[in-house]
């Protein structure tokens, strides 16, 4: 009762990175609230899950193991989570803002009439005073996310409905083992009590999951382009620079929407979160959603024709000018000084 729950996504027996990141966040919030951290894993052949999640400080792991439960399907997973939440009454529940979590989360929130906030970039505990009702709330979950074109940061709360639900993208929270020997209890759910045959109405005919070929998250150097790059052709300059420096190409959402570059490369609140050694932002104005995905980079170079671009304020080097002029010079002087 009144604990923190994390829904753990499973792919090929592996717990998803985003779920481990959420367990880490959940553990620290559970300590603050002096409650337990609980996890639910739904799938098939879940024997290895316990070993993977316990080190993150899980007090109770619920397993729903049945061959019909893998791969993920909306209705059976919803039924299990909804029933378990009705029994366990968590105060907080987290899911990854992934294609699974964003399919499941709203469904569960709708069934339980509880609030859900998508794509949070920060989660804190705090109090709230409702002036109208003259009511004081203690220890609410502050769900913090950029909103409305990124010009504002909104703090969302769910004062009265439980659980307080939030989704978070992969890479936003840090993943950290609490104690490799941490031992929580494992509860095997009797699946037949949680799902009915009518939940299994979708037949998965074909499924191809691939490990992303790109490794933008792991790249030490990222050359990212925005709408200001101007065209698909101009993105070639960024590719060249990335290749010379041994980095990857990233992009802002505006560049992806404009079709300059594929979606997989999008950095920001609704894309990847990266922390490279060097981030070179080309023609990126620097909306908060974009900055949310890159501001923890060790060094930032901003190249922009606009000397007032918001990105400049978080950059270590600000270059005002045209990328077509500046990037070739960067390549030239890199090559000259590394020979």
């Amino acid at each position: 009762m009144n604990n923190i729950f994390v829904y753990c996504e499973i792919e090929d027996g592996q717990v998803a990175e985003v779920s481990l990141e959420l367990l880490t966040k959940g553990r620290s919030l559970a300590n603050e609230l002096k409650c337990k951290l609980e996890a639910i894993a739904i799938g098939h052949k879940l024997d290895g899950v316990e070993k993977q999640v316990m080190p993150y400080g899980v007090d109770t792991l619920y397993l729903a193991d049945d061959k019909r439960l893998y791969p993920y399907q909306t209705l059976p997973h919803t039924s299990i989570v909804v029933k378990l939440f009705e029994e366990q009454k968590p105060q907080i529940a987290f899911m990854g803002a992934s294609s699974i979590g964003r399919d499941l989360g709203p469904r569960v929130s709708s069934a339980l009439h509880s609030g859900l906030t998508a794509d949070c970039t920060s989660l804190l505990i705090g109090d709230h005073y409702d002036k109208k009702a003259d009511k004081k709330y203690e220890n609410l979950l502050y769900q913090i996310r950029p909103a409305f074109g990124g010009n504002i940061i909104a703090t969302i709360i769910n004062p009265d409905c439980r659980p307080q639900m939030a989704t978070v993208r992969e890479g936003v929270m840090k993943k950290e083992i609490l104690d490799p020997k941490y031992k929580g209890k494992v509860v095997n759910l009797d699946v037949s009590k949680y799902v009915s045959d009518s939940d299994f109405v979708v037949e998965i005919i074909e499924r191809h999951m691939e490990k992303s070929k790109l490794n933008i998250k792991g790249a030490p150097i990222i050359v990212a382009g925005g709408y200001g790059v101007g065209s698909k052709e101009n993105f070639r300059l960024l590719n060249e620079l990335a290749e010379v420096l041994g980095g990857e190409v990233g992009a802002s959402r505006a560049a992806v929407d404009a079709g300059y570059v594929e979606h997989e490369r999008q950095i920001g609140q609704t894309g990847l979160t990266v922390r490279p050694k060097l981030y070179i932002a080309c023609g990126i104005s620097g909306q908060i959603q974009h900055r949310a995905g890159m501001e923890q980079s060790a060094q930032i170079i901003a190249i922009n024709t606009d000397p007032e671009a918001p990105i400049n304020s978080i950059a270590d080097y600000v270059i005002t000018g045209d990328i077509a002029d500046i990037i070739p010079k960067m390549i030239k002087y890199y090559k000259k000084n590394t020979k």
Binding site: T74, P106, N151, I152, V202, K329, Y333
Partner: protein, 291 residues
């Protein structure tokens, strides 16, 4: 064959994609007037999927359901210009301040009134909130199956549909029965353009409120050309529990809004001159940031 009854859920949104400098007022608040109101992009992808089914299966009808202020009638007209058969504008002050769940409740109740729908097709998410929650929340409210992230309808035979989904790290093809809620990804084909003939036919399609504003005699018009009537449904036209509507029916509340204040870093401002670029590259090499 009688064709399918399809409802497309669409939303009018501020165009947050190309936010210019005038999008912010001097006091740092959002200048909504500077942002044009548009048909949410992925809802157009959804409309295209519906129209493709209509092209293939005679007798199919495509209706647009949208919730918003009076001006949201614009996107119903936009849908008519592209081939939709009609639309309903769900509009009432009682809906103001709705979060995704209260929105889903109102839309769900409107869909119950419409009744006997084969497919509800919506965009994956709207660009003003990016939550991707309303589609699945509506499905749950109606106890219907949902298939999200759809890129293509691969097959549709009687009440069986095969859909291709585009997921974070792959693709999945699923087969299931109608009725269902489908949410469509931006990677699906773009919506067809306006049709000149439909534009001529429907440019005078208006809601009663719009016609009243223009002092037009709508009773005669609607009698002669019933297809030009864009029905407005208020809270009185659907069955609702007031406690689930609008701000008070929304479990999530906005506690606070902060304008983004940039914490200025100690940046080095350099020019694009060769000497400046070279010294920067040398500094980065020396600090082993690159090389």
């Amino acid at each position: 064959m009688k064709g399918y009854k399809i409802i497309v859920l669409a939303k009018q949104v501020p165009d947050t994609r190309n936010v210019g400098k005038d999008a912010m007022k001097a006091d740092g608040t959002v200048n909504r007037a500077a942002l044009p109101a548009i048909f949410n992009p992925e809802d157009l992808n959804a409309l295209e999927q519906a129209l493709r089914i209509k092209d293939q299966y005679p007798g199919t009808t495509v209706q647009i359901l949208t919730m918003g202020p009076g001006r949201a009638a614009d996107i119903i007209r936009e849908g008519l210009f592209r081939g939709a058969d009609g639309g309903i504008l769900l509009t009432d002050r009682a809906f103001a301040g709705s979060d995704t769940l209260a929105t889903s409740y109102a839309i769900g109740q409107a869909l119950k009134k419409i009744g006997d729908v084969d497919m509800i097709i919506a965009g994956r998410q709207a660009i003003d909130g990016d939550t991707a929650q309303v589609g699945p929340q509506v499905a749950e409210k109606l106890s219907m199956l949902q298939v999200t992230y759809v890129e293509e309808v691969k097959e549709l035979k009687k009440d069986t549909i095969v859909l291709k989904r585009r997921l974070d790290r792959g693709v999945e093809t699923v087969k299931c029965k109608l009725p269902l809620v489908i949410t469509v990804n931006g990677t699906a084909p773009e919506c067809r353009a306006r049709n000149a003939k439909l534009l001529m036919t429907f440019k005078r399609a208006k809601t009663v409120t719009e016609l009243q504003k223009e002092n037009e005699d709508y009773t005669t018009l609607y009698n002669d050309r019933p297809e030009l009537n864009i029905p407005e449904w208020t809270v009185n036209d659907i069955e609702t529990d007031a406690s689930q509507l609008g701000l008070s029916g929304s479990p999530t509340k906005v506690k606070s809004i902060e304008n983004v204040v940039l914490q200025a870093k100690d940046s080095k401002i350099i020019s694009s001159a060769d000497a400046d670029i070279e010294s920067m590259m040398l500094e980065l090499l020396e600090s082993h940031t690159i090389g």
